[in-house]
């Protein structure tokens, strides 16, 4: 009996099977890097070691953290990124959106792959039944040079969602509730596998939000076994779903199991300064706000934009709304079906397809004492702006309803009869 994580790791390690706790060396199927932890950090290391890339066709570089630039240091990082991409001949998606969204959108992921990403939200790839995890730049340099990485075979923590979410409740709420209950180290750097009716009823972009926030749950990877929805998405993106039926965990293989009820879940809000400070929206209702940020890999994909627009349509927000669509393609899709027009009519400011304020790099940051509701993944003190700014995390529905009222609000009344 083996879990999905064990099956993928065993295959990548060239073994029949592996057991939790043992340290194995895996062949890497794909490495993803971005402009922050990528060329500017790894190139000097590769030079120092006098080595090049193990396989440039398996390296995907995506610029997103310093896009669009605008100050000398950020512009310099972007220029270095572009020059390195050209010199090395790696696969390069320049300013096309946030890496975790662009990678699957361009067909780079498939079930059963072992993928290393130079970013902590790399567990997003687990939505496709891949074992994907994040590392720092020095470790990534080792991967780029050798095509290998060591890992300690994780235990699998299985999260079972029974029933289906009710209207106005989304994957972001599921993750905030989990993190609130289990803490930011509840995942213990093990593999977290999401299953049950409530998960398989979700679209791929929603599943990506689940897998993504495994980072805030403290897991190494967050997996969802592939099904027909996965195979269809991968094929439509130009990828190869392959033998996806084979990449399933054996029933009962996971030792630790938590059961949750999707149907009774309420929208969640995480208060400053931790994603673990989450509670049903009622607990935070009425909290005054200055700004709503609809952005990030975990909060501004096409479906997130659609959710926010469902509430903002025909309504005037009482505060500033910033929208940073997670990828150029998602923005184009949202333009085509009138979603972007809703944001424009609502007076929202549209920001570039990049990490933006979520990463808090560069100059676009929240000012002193600003109170923000955000669809992003982290509300650590000072992350998105001044140390005195405060961030509440919530779904795009909740962020939009709060924008309309100028204070934290339950989105569900807005969706009644919709």
């Amino acid at each position: 009996m083996a879990t999905l994580a064990e099956k993928i790791i065993a295959r990548a390690a060239g073994r029949q099977f592996v057991s939790p706790g043992e340290i194995v060396t895996c062949r890497v199927d794909l490495a993803m890097i971005h402009d922050s932890g990528g060329p500017r950090r790894v190139a000097p290391i590769l030079r120092r070691l006098g080595t090049g890339l193990w396989d440039r066709d398996k390296v995907v570089l995506i610029s997103d953290h310093y896009v669009p630039g605008g100050d000398e240091a950020s512009d310099g990082i972007l220029q270095l990124t572009r020059e390195w991409a050209k010199a090395q001949g790696v696969i390069f998606h320049d300013a096309q959106g946030i890496c975790h969204v662009v990678l699957p959108e361009r067909g780079h992921l498939a079930p059963g792959m072992l993928v290393v990403g130079g970013d902590s939200h790399s567990p997003t790839g687990g939505a496709f039944g891949a074992y994907m995890f994040g590392v720092g730049a020095t470790e990534m340099a080792g991967v780029l040079a050798t095509g290998e990485i060591w890992l300690k075979v994780p235990e699998t923590i299985r999260i079972e969602w029974q029933g289906r979410l009710s209207p106005g409740v989304v994957a972001k709420d599921m993750m905030l509730a989990l993190i609130g209950a289990m803490g930011m180290d509840g995942g213990r750097y093990q593999a977290v596998e999401y299953g049950g009716e409530g998960v398989f009823a979700l679209s791929m972009q929603e599943r990506m939000t689940l897998a993504n926030m495994t980072a805030e749950l403290g897991g190494q990877a967050g997996l969802i076994a592939p099904d027909e929805v996965t195979a269809e998405f991968v094929a439509a993106a130009g990828g190869t779903p392959g033998d996806w039926q084979a990449w399933q965990g054996d029933p009962g293989a996971a030792k630790e199991r938590h059961v949750w009820n999707a149907a009774s879940l309420a929208p969640q809000v995480a208060a400053p300064h931790s994603p673990a400070n989450s509670a049903p929206v009622g607990d935070a209702e009425g909290e005054a706000l200055d700004i709503a940020y609809i952005g990030a890999c975990t909060g501004a994909k096409y479906e997130d934009l659609k959710a926010a627009a469902a509430i903002l349509r025909g309504r005037k927000p009482r505060m500033q709304v910033l929208v940073a669509p997670a990828s150029a393609r998602d923005q184009a899709r949202a333009e085509a079906d009138g979603i972007m027009a809703v944001f424009e009519e609502a007076g929202a400011e549209i920001l570039p397809n990049a990490c933006g304020i979520c990463a808090g790099y560069g100059t676009a940051r929240l000012g002193a004492d600003v109170r923000c509701i955000s669809t992003t993944a982290r509300n650590f003190k000072g992350r998105m702006g001044d140390a005195s700014s405060r961030v509440w995390l919530a779904s795009p529905y909740t962020a939009a309803a709060s924008a309309v009222e100028g204070r934290i609000a339950d989105p569900r009344p807005y969706l009644e009869g919709a």
Binding site: S36, G37, R41, I45, R48, L49, G50, H65, Y66, D71, A73, S74, I77, G118, D119, S120, S122, G134, V135, G136, A137, T138, E139, A141, G142, G183, M184, D185, Y189, A215, G218, Q220, S274, A276, A359, G360, Y361, G362, R365, R378, F380, K381, G382, R383, M384, A387
Partner: protein
Amino acid sequence: MPRAWVLGDDIDTDALAPGRFMHRPVEELAANTLADIRPDFANAQPGDVIVAGRNFGAGSSREQAAQALVIRGIAGVVARSFAGIFYRNAINLGLPVLVGNPAVEDGAEVTLDIDNATLRHEAGETGLEPIPGFLLDMVHDGGLVPHLEKKFRGKA
């Protein structure tokens, strides 16, 4: 005499490596490590030790979070637990990270012994979980890159 800097749970990478300095030279970032939550950390001296609670280094994969402490000469971090990516980054950059829960006060005089996995303090000595052998070698070499350089030189 080196001192202990006692911090709480979930000390995150954004506190260790503030985003507003991520595009700046890493020395400038290191000068501002922990500034948002412990402004007096600016007074930390080389050889000082961080003693923290659960999940130290939570959040981002930015290894500048560990590198900042190396640049500042911090002898190591002792915490009840570490976030996974941070732990790997720390070893890869030569920052000793040991799991333990010593009862020391903020500012107490301490000495960290990474080979014997102990923290010495006024009240005696607290045993820590040792760094696994193959990772300890890497720490002694100053991290993954010097470790690989040494290995390659050995082969040449």
